[in-house]
Symmetry: C2
Subunit: 126 residues, 2 copies
DNA sequence: CGGGATCCGATTCGATACTG
DNA sequence: CAGTATCGAATCGGATCCCG
């Protein structure tokens, strides 16, 4: 059903491992991908993000947004200087390269959930 | 270039987030995907895996293999009972459902590496 | 060879309180 | 509103030693 997309040779296999580990080092935390998903629905404000990304604290959200901006995945825009300040976060074009990753993880997460609940059911769920 | 695969409605967006977080909770560590990649080249022994998954300690490898077996991603087979024992790990059919995830992460990891080194080069690297 | 046991540092993450 | 500061718990992961 699924062909192995991973090269068989030791050398190329090590290359795949390095790329996957690079990706995981950056995306591995609990929050980065959920934040990207929330922003995929359009630009959002800080408070709005905190509501949609269930369970995140202001501290973590702030930290993750900084890292995502540093890596060009989103842009930060300050709307007004006077209090109350308004800041908008927008998913950058470059950030959309994560959609395939999110899709693959979403599909597998769904499959695995059904697999855990009633084993041998993934044939019909895939 | 890339259509947003994530639903726009709040409700379905939350569903995508939950699935991605489920997947990340399980795959998020440093080692599970690299182990799967190594096993994608065929069944391997414990020591052999430790050599191919660069940097992993015996403790971590043992722990991760146990979790992967519990989740039906691989099977463990004891070849000989007499010392020295020989144990073989084989990627299960169900484990191959992770190939799309690995592919997506590998592609993005590669892209992001080039992006970090010389920005604005991802148009040609994709 | 294939691990388990123990100890330990490093990092992640959350709760709470506070600021411009 | 949009964060920052501080504290502390929990988890992650490595080093080392040990066993069948």
């Amino acid at each position: 059903m699924l062909q192995p997309p991973i090269p068989i040779t030791h050398h190329e296999c090590a290359g795949a491992m390095r790329s996957v580990r690079d990706a995981l080092d950056f995306l591995g935390g609990k929050w980065k991908l959920p934040i990207i998903i929330a922003l995929s629905g359009g630009p959002k404000r800080f408070k709005q993000l905190q509501r949609e990304v269930t369970g995140i604290t202001a501290k973590m959200l702030s930290k993750e947004l900084k890292e995502l901006e540093l890596n060009s995945l989103l842009t930060r825009h300050v709307e007004t200087q006077a209090a109350p300040v308004a800041v908008t976060y927008t998913l950058a074009d470059y950030g959309e390269h994560l959609y395939p990753v999110i899709e693959a993880l979403r599909i597998w997460g769904q499959l695995h959930r059904t697999h855990i609940m009633h084993p041998a059911a993934e044939a019909g769920a895939a």
